[in-house]
């Protein structure tokens, strides 16, 4: 009688097992915020489960805040929820140093992400990074700053994924989702500067090459260097913008 409790085998209830599987997909980034789940019949077939069990699993996940049912289907919600996101956006807007703070934080994390990606990435991960980089080169040639800034986000996301650390992935992708608007504005600011675009592309190439060569230290240095450069360049742009505004005001006063 002593310790029988530990021996009892209790299979998880099927809906709970399905829910847990879908949660794992969200955790590892196979299902991302905004993704729509396949139609119930297809998904049930794919998972080889009955439709009623799947429906119960989905309702568990809706209750837990992972999914939401809207017109047009069932969608994945961001695990870092709206209240959290709103607070952070508000903080970013009220604090003039916050972009610089964000990039300082990212400098450390991105260095680690690139290092881990270089040592842990599978062929599939490296292909994804490579594809993102090729798209970046193409956008660069077409010189559409907006598009280039978008791909920038995707490139870094593929590096986080290749780092195979779910906490880092969830936090950093959550952050970039929340800060999309602010960060995007800044990126576009950078990409419209003469000369900066070329430097950024070279830096991304260095990160890409180091990960392809599975050279951890080089990948870390390249990623840190890239974020530090971005931070310094944005500070410089803000400073010149402020100077320009001041001159314009003075000019307007003398007129």
């Amino acid at each position: 009688m002593l310790h029988t409790a530990n021996d009892a085998i209790r299979p998880a209830k099927l809906p709970e097992a399905i829910a847990s599987h879908l949660e794992s997909l969200i955790l590892e980034g196979s299902l991302r915020a905004g993704d729509r789940l396949s139609a119930e019949r297809d998904l049930a077939q794919q998972l080889e489960v009955s439709r009623p069990s799947l429906r119960q699993a989905i309702s568990l996940l809706v209750n837990r805040g992972f999914l939401e049912i809207r017109q047009g289907g069932t969608f994945v919600r961001p695990p870092l929820d709206d209240t959290f996101g709103d607070h952070l956006s508000q903080l970013m807007r009220s604090d003039p140093d916050s972009t610089s703070d964000y990039l300082e934080f990212r400098g450390g994390v991105d260095g680690m992400a690139a290092f881990l990606a270089a040592s842990r990435s599978t062929d599939i991960d490296r292909q994804a990074i490579h594809r993102a980089f090729l798209e970046m080169e193409q956008a660069h040639c077409r010189s559409v700053p907006n598009e280039e800034a978008d791909i920038d986000t995707r490139f870094h996301q593929s590096v986080y994924e290749a780092g195979h650390n779910v906490v880092m992935l969830q936090i950093m992708c959550g952050l970039s989702g929340i800060l999309r608007r602010d960060v995007h504005q800044n990126r576009t600011k950078l990409y419209t500067r003469k000369g900066v675009r070329e430097i950024l592309l070279d830096q991304h190439r260095a990160i890409h090459d180091a990960i392809m060569n599975q050279d951890g230290p080089a990948a870390r240095d390249a990623a840190q260097g890239h974020v530090n450069f971005t931070r310094a360049a944005l500070t410089e742009i803000d400073r010149t913008d402020a100077r320009l505004e001041m001159s314009l005001r003075r000019f307007a006063e003398t007129e």
Binding site: L2, H3, N6, D7, S20, E23, S24, I26, L27, R64, G65, F66, R77, P79, L80, D81, T83, F84, H87, L88, L91, M92, D95, D97, S98, D101, Y102, E104, F105, G108, V109, G111, M112, N165, V166, V167, M168, Q170, I171, G174, L175
Partner: protein, 190 residues
């Protein structure tokens, strides 16, 4: 450079993300891996940037931790441990890092990643961790960034090691119990 004291916003607790991590215990080691890099960075920054106010807060958190430790008051020790680490992140003067890390530390204090008692129950772990906290505290207070980063790394590596040990110890205990039961039932038959 002078660092202003920023308003310390307490971020709303992200229930969904916490539930996701909690339901998947394998995230514990990812958390510690992530934390290692951030903790090094934070310790270095706190050593460089902390204001008098930050240092007073850190000292008071450290003193509560030490007293709870000496009293062998495990609950208070756990709470003071959380406050001590929060005080370091506040002393970094990076609003984004403060926001993110206070969220993760709060998750940890609610045992989202692992049950902290498991670590404290490891033989010698409480003593070792108190020494690590002291080294970290003194390095920040004496404004030694490299020593602070080093102390932070040692602390997180130790936590990681203790967690692995406690999981292994639990596994060993379970198999020993099953073997014991087998021999007990054989004695009954004799």
């Amino acid at each position: 450079m002078q660092y202003r004291n920023k308003t310390d916003q307490i971020p709303p607790y992200p229930e969904t993300l916490a539930a996701l991590f909690q339901a998947h215990p394998e995230s514990a080691f990812d958390y510690l891996e992530f934390r290692l890099v951030i903790a090094r960075m934070a310790a270095r920054q706190a050593a460089e940037r902390s204001t008098e106010e930050d240092r007073a807060r850190l000292t008071s958190a450290y003193e509560s931790l030490r007293q709870a430790h000496d009293r062998y008051d495990l609950d208070s020790e756990s709470q003071a441990d959380t406050k001590f680490h929060l005080a370091i992140y506040q002393a970094c003067h990076n609003a984004v890092m403060g926001f993110i890390m206070s969220t993760l530390i709060t998750m940890q204090s609610r045992d989202v990643f692992y049950d902290r008692r498991r670590i404290h129950q490891q033989p010698g772990a409480r003593e070792a961790m108190m020494d690590q906290h002291r080294a970290l505290y003194l390095a920040i207070l004496n404004r030694r960034p490299e020593a602070a980063a080093e102390a932070a790394e040692i602390h997180i590596r130790f936590t990681n090691h203790s967690l692995r040990e406690s999981i292994e110890a639990e596994r060993r205990l379970q198999s020993a119990l099953r073997r014991q039961r087998r021999s007990l039932s054989q004695e009954d038959e004799e």
